[in-house]
Structure formats: C-alpha cells, structure tokens
C-alpha cells in the first residue's frame, strides 16, 4: 500500500523556487507534498527538509544533493533531492519517491558487510574493482593486487552470463565462479548510491562454496521442501526461543533508555532489533506448530463451543491494535450464539489470525466486520475487511506455506493462514476466502454446527 499516489521510483519531479523560496512552478508530486505540509499556493516551500537543501544550495552557490526523509500523511518518503542555484532561482529535482519501509523480513539487505564471507570486494560505477581483501588472493589462488582497477568480470564469471546490475538490483547470493581458478562462489553486494540516488558502485562479499552435488543443490534451493522433524523443531525451539527472548528484552530496555540517556538513533536501532526479534520468535512458534499439525494423524479435540463467543473474544483481544490502526471492529452482538463442534483454543487462534490480518490490510477509518451465521449443517464466521482485496489467482496461493497476502507488507511470516486452514480442517471444518480486488476480502471459517 502506498501512502500517496506514488509517482514511482524512477520519476524525477521538478520545481523552481524564487529567491524567497516561493514556488514558481512545481510538478504535481512536489506540489502535493507542499500542500500536505500545510503550504498554500503563494507560500514558501513548506516541505522543511527540501527547503533546507534549497537554502543551503543558495547560500553556498553550488548544487547540493542529499537524501532526505519527508513525512507524508501516512508514512515517510525517501527522496533524493538536488537543488541547483541558477540566476537567483533554485531548480529542484526530486527522485526516489519510495515509501520508507517499516521493518519487514523481505527488506533484509544482503550481507555485503561480509560477516563470515571468504573475502570482500568493492567496485566503482564502471564496475572496476577498487578493493579486494588483501589476503584473499593468497587463500584462493589469484593475485588480489593485480585485480585492482580491473573490471569485475575479470575476477568473477557470472553464472547467467549477464553482468550484475543489469536489472539495477543488488546481488543477493548470486552464483558465480572465480575466473582465475574456476572455483564456485556466491556473491552478495549492496549498491552504493551517489547524492542523486544514482549507482556509484558495489560493496560486496564473496563466499566460496563447495562444488554442489545435485541433491544438495535441490535442498539448498527449496528449503521449504525439507521435512520438519520433531527433533528438529524441538531443537529450534530450544536453541532460538531463549536467546531471542533475551535479545528482545535487552533491546527493549535499551530502547526505553532504562540505563540512562542515549542518542535517539541508537534507541531506534534497539527498537528495530526488538521488532526483528519478536518477528523471529513468532516464526519459531509457528514452525514448532507446523511440525505438529503436518503429522498425517493430527486431530483436534471436538468439544461443544459457541463460535459467536469465540469471535467476540478474538475481536476484544485485538481491540487495542485496531484502535492503533484507526480501524473499527464490528463484532457479533452479545445475544448472538452459534453452537459448533471444535477446540476452543484453536478456534480463538484462527480468528485472531483472521481479524489481525483484516486490521493490517484495512485502510485507516474503515471497519472490519465479524459476523456469524448458520449454513445448513455448518456454523460460519466471516471476517470482512475493506482492504485492496485479493486477486483470484492469489486466493489459493495465500493459504500455502510462506506465502503472504501482500509480500511487500511489513509483519507476518507467511505461515499464519496456512496453519489456520490446517487447524480448521483438523477440526472437520475449513477456511476459505471470497474477494473482489479493490473491494476487500471475506475470510470464511466454518465448523460443524451443533443443534
């Protein structure tokens, strides 16, 4: 979800300011930002970080390029600003137009810092090597010093035959070979940007890999197909949950500055660490659960429950989160009942997952509607949101392992709906979705009813 009519990353919007920072002309995206920041037609440029760059360029008398973050209605935008003084005016070009991503696992940068890498390398904008770890040549059989200044492909042969950066994306675990020795490597690299967001080079790391054996390769490429054994998940649980809990607790206390004042940016880092830690704990929980429910003989308790009551409780538990998101939950009335057969705790888990998703994908100010109804021998709970909906071709995919309704959305790990459906089916029921793209989605959770 973009928070404004995003002009797209490649677009450059322009504006001209007079000597007093008033807008003489501006492309719509800049005008829109200006108005959202409270600026009127004849006012000075109201977007403070951009105005600052413009003033600096005027005072120094040179072009100033800078990356800035601009607060927008619903989120922040990452922008590359260039302000160029020209005959008393300032010409602005603004590119980037990226929503600043909240923390999400998909945004994890490649490990270009080279933790655990066999060696590190850097290349300039012309993809000439400007740095290769000095010890690398000796260890891996090439002359590292002679590589300096040479093209990147003098050192690496890329598997696909294409040069990196062809698609403007950073390298992330790309397969290649060392040209001097033909040894296989995996390469990670981050793109280095110049002041206008252009590509100024690559900062990379190389990991030597053993010659792949067919089966190994398969396993490495499809980690999802590896069977989850009980001992594996139990080990995972033990090995990860305790240290993660400690990391989260410590990061939280750093963020809360409980040991004294620290710079705001460090508190933010600590918040990021805690968020990432909580995400991982959630993943561990889900993986452990996955192992249990993927057993062929997995069955759940079949006890009489009231689905309407379960739905009300789930909605109540998510009230705070809904408030924070500016979303209202309409839940079944207190008088309503919907007798069904199932496991109380698991039903609550399923509905928390469904309502939580609905809140996440609802625009601010909208409603999430939770209804119960009877359909012959079935007791149904419907959870409806007014989000952007799910395309027909995605309606099957989202119930698969590690799939997301919207992979670009922060939060979640792609296991929730998969587990929810498995649980529903293990109780003799089912979970499905009905959606028209653009008009929201309704998730229907059904259980056998009880007369």
């Amino acid at each position: 979800m973009t928070s404004m009519d995003s002009p797209g990353e490649s677009m450059v919007a322009r504006a001209i300011l007079d000597a007093g920072d008033h807008i003489l002309s501006a492309d719509p995206p800049i005008e829109l930002l200006h108005m959202r920041a409270g600026g009127g037609v004849s006012d000075r440029l109201a977007i403070a970080p951009i105005a600052r760059v413009a003033r600096l360029a005027r005072r120094l008398g040179i072009a100033v390029s800078r990356q800035v973050v601009v607060a927008d209605d619903e989120g922040d935008l990452d922008l590359w600003i260039q302000a160029r003084p020209e005959t008393g005016q300032i010409r602005l070009s603004v590119s980037g137009w990226r929503d600043r991503a909240a923390w999400k696992p998909a945004a994890t940068p490649p490990d270009h810092t080279g933790m655990g890498a066999d060696f590190r390398w850097e290349a300039d904008a012309a993809l000439r090597l400007t740095f290769v770890s000095p010890g690398a040549g000796l260890r891996h059989g090439f002359d590292a010093q002679a590589m300096l200044g040479r093209p990147l492909n003098a050192l690496f042969v890329f598997d696909s035959g294409t040069a990196p950066l062809g698609d403007g994306a950073p390298l992330d675990g790309r397969g290649a070979r060392l040209r001097p020795t033909d040894a296989p490597v995996r390469l990670s690299a981050a793109i280095r940007h110049d002041g206008m967001g252009g590509i100024a080079g690559l900062v990379g790391a190389a990991y030597l890999i053993d010659e792949p054996v067919e089966d190994d390769e398969d396993l490495a490429l499809h980690p999802g197909s590896a069977p989850l054994t009980e001992s594996f998940t139990a080990g995972l649980d033990r090995a990860l949950r305790t240290p993660l809990a400690r990391i989260v607790a410590n990061a939280d206390s750093i963020a809360a500055r409980s040991d004294g004042p620290i710079a705001a940016e460090y508190a933010d880092y600590a918040n990021d660490i805690a968020d990432a830690g909580r995400h991982l704990i959630g993943l561990v929980d889900n993986l452990v659960e996955l192992q249990a429910i993927e057993q062929p003989d997995f069955r759940l308790a079949a006890t009489p429950i009231d689905l309407a009551d379960v739905a009300r409780r789930a909605a109540g538990l998510l009230g705070v989160r809904a408030d924070a998101a500016g979303v209202t939950i309409c839940r079944p009335g207190m008088g309503e009942g919907m007798p069904a057969i199932g496991d109380f705790g698991r039903c609550l888990q399923i509905l928390i997952n469904l309502i939580g998703n609905a809140i996440r994908y609802s625009p601010r100010g909208e409603e999430v509607v939770v209804t119960v109804e009877r359909d012959g021998e079935w007791a149904l709970v419907g959870v409806t949101d007014r989000g952007k909906g799910i395309a027909p071709e995605d309606q099957t995919r989202i119930f698969e392992k590690f799939e997301r309704v919207d992979p670009s959305e922060p939060g979640g790990n792609g296991l929730g709906l998969y587990i929810a459906r498995r649980l529903a089916r293990a109780m003799g029921g089912d979970l499905g979705v009905e959606s028209v793209p653009g008009e929201g989605a309704t998730f229907l959770f059904r259980l056998r009813s009880r007369s």
């Binding site: 008398g61 100033v64 000439r128 400007t130 110049d194």
Partner: protein, 350 residues
C-alpha cells in the same frame, strides 16, 4: 578427611601480604578517582566518541601484539634455546597495564587515522565522471607510468588499511619506541644473554621497517607523481573527496602547499575548518571549489556545522591569497620548530 583450603588461593591472602593487598587496592582507588576527575573535566568538544575509543584501542592492541610477536620470534632465532621470557599474552597485558603505551604522539596518530577512516567512509559520493571508472582506477591506467604505479600503490595501501587484521602504519620514531618497549616487556629478569638476543631481535625488526610504511606515504608519492598544475588541482581535490579518498585529498593539498602530510591531515580533520579554508585560499581556490569541499566534509563529519560554514563563506572568499599564505606560513616550518613555538607560546598564553 577435611578438605584443606586451596593453597594458591590461600597464599593470596597470607597475613604477610595483606599490606600489599591494601596498598594495591588504595592505588586502584586513586587511579579510578583520577580517571573520573579527568573524565568529568573533559569538555564535550575534546571527548572521543565510543566508536573512536573502541577503534583506537583495537588498533593499538593489534599493533602491540604484532610487534611483540615479531620481536619474540626474532629473539628465539638469535637464541634457539629460548630465553626465560614469560608467556606471550601477559606481555601484552603488562604493556597495557603499565603506562608504557601512553604516548601523546602515538595516541594522536591513532585517533587521526581512525577519524580519517570514519570521515572517508561517510563522504558523499558523486559520480562526476558518469560511468567512467573512479579517480584512482583511471590514474592507475594513466600513460605516465610513474603516476600509474603510484596510483596502483595507493589502491593496494587503501585495501591493506581497510582490513582489520592489518596493523596500523606509524612514523619511524613512534615505531622505534614501540619496538623497544615490546622488547623490554619480553625481558625475564637479569639475563644478559636473553637481553642481547632481544636487542638484536629489535634491531632486526626495525631494519625490516621501511619508510614506505609511513602513514600517507603511498598517497604522497602519487601526489608528487601527479604534481598537479594549479588548473588541475580543483578537480583532483573534488574528485578525491567524492571518491572517498581522504588520504589522497590530504596528500594533494600537502604537496600543493608544501606542508607536511601530518600537519595537513590535522587541518583537514579539525571540525572548525578555519585553517583548511585559509589553506585553500592560500592556493587561490575559487568559491565553488571551497563550497563543495566544505559541503562534503560537513556531510561526512557530524561535528561540523554546515550553516556556520555557509555563513562564513563570503568572509573566507574575501581573504586575499597573499594574506592567507602569510597566515599559513608557520605551517611549512619544520615540525620540531613548530612544536617548540607552540610550547613556548602556549605557556605564555596561560
């Protein structure tokens, strides 16, 4: 049978040694108090950031360990039966504990190197030449073979300086001092034969050190090889900054001003920048060049204030190059003379 007290532990608390323990504890308390007082007296301006403290400490440890290991290895070659030297690790700890490593010149050098690295890595990159290779790569392909070789040497030296496992580069005088300190720490009481072996070993280690290892040596050779004409200097200065080659920037200025590398590095690293603007005016640099250099350094160094730089720019430009040269003249005097002047004048100002 009752278990007796641990004999080693008991000996630490022998009645005869209790006085020593009390005295040592008192000394520690005094040292702590003094440290706290010094710390509290420091103004925010001269306080090092945690990152700089950490990097300086790490570099110093690595340096001392490397030197002590080299000396020990050489001494064992001279005296194969080995000396009465203690374990290697306590040697390094001992050097740290005693004040043997407290040396203002060494501290200054290490802090300057760390600062230079941090600012270098934070410099804003501008791809001035579009898709063309970066400055050093282009220079390493220059038709002038001396320039090409010198540029290649800078690329190599930069690579070495970047890897954490490389010890730092020091001036001859600082290196000499550290080698002899390491040798002294490797002594084991009065043992003339081992002392002689250590002395020989230290001399061998010193002889292996060449002037090429001096900080900034490679960049200085490149600056000398380029020997930029006044018209070429602005672009080279700007491109070295946008290429994040702060060492080369310092060397180019140093060569153009005829002022020692260390001095220019100090001028470039100081956050107020007063002497840098004067130096650039002494070289008759234009407003746009000085503005770009100032902007880059402000973006890279959080201690600098871009607004007050912009404020001062017109006044800086009003300084005539001749006046700037006169104000900077004392910088090109020999370092020892300068230090002596600083000491005298500093004492009189107090």
């Amino acid at each position: 049978m009752a278990v007796g007290p641990d004999p080693i532990h008991a000996s630490e608390w022998q009645v005869a040694r209790l006085y020593d323990r009390v005295a040592a504890a008192r000394a520690r308390a005094v040292a702590r108090r003094r440290g706290a007082m010094l710390d509290l007296r420091l103004d925010a301006d001269s306080r090092l950031t945690d990152q700089i403290r950490f990097e300086v400490a790490a570099r110093l440890t690595l340096l001392v360990e490397t030197i002590a290991r080299d000396v020990l290895r050489q001494a064992e070659r001279v005296m194969p039966e080995g000396g009465p030297h203690s374990e290697f690790d306590p040697v390094v700890q001992r050097l740290h504990r005693t004040d043997a490593l407290v040396d203002p010149a060494l501290a200054e050098e290490l802090v300057a190197q760390v600062r230079q690295g941090l600012i270098s890595r934070a410099l804003p990159i501008e791809t001035m030449a579009g898709d063309a290779p970066s400055l050093l790569v282009r220079l390493s392909e220059a038709p002038d073979r001396i320039v090409a070789a010198a540029a290649r040497a800078v690329l190599v030296a930069e690579g070495h300086a970047r890897e954490a496992e490389e010890p730092v580069r020091l001036s001859r005088r600082q290196y000499d001092r550290l080698v002899w300190i390491a040798a002294a720490a490797l002594r084991g009481g009065e043992d003339p034969a081992w002392d002689r072996a250590l002395a020989q070993a230290a001399e061998r280690v010193l002889a292996a050190q060449s002037d090429a290892d001096r900080p900034g040596a490679a960049a200085m050779r490149l600056a000398a090889a380029i020997d930029a004409r006044p018209g070429e200097l602005p672009d080279l200065l700007l491109e070295s900054l946008s290429d994040r080659q702060l060492g080369l920037f310092v060397a180019l200025l140093s060569h153009a001003l005829g002022v020692e590398y260390d001095m220019v590095r100090e001028i470039v690293l100081e956050p107020e920048g007063d002497r840098l603007w004067l130096a650039l005016r002494a070289l008759d640099q234009e407003r746009a060049t000085i503005a770009r250099i100032g902007l880059s350094l402000c973006e890279a160094d959080g201690r600098r204030d871009v607004d007050s730089f912009a404020e001062a720019l017109d006044s800086i430009m009003a300084i005539a190059p001749e006046e700037a040269r006169r104000a900077m003249a004392s910088l090109s005097l020999p370092a020892s003379f300068r230090e002596a002047i600083d000491r005298l004048e500093g004492a009189e100002r107090r």
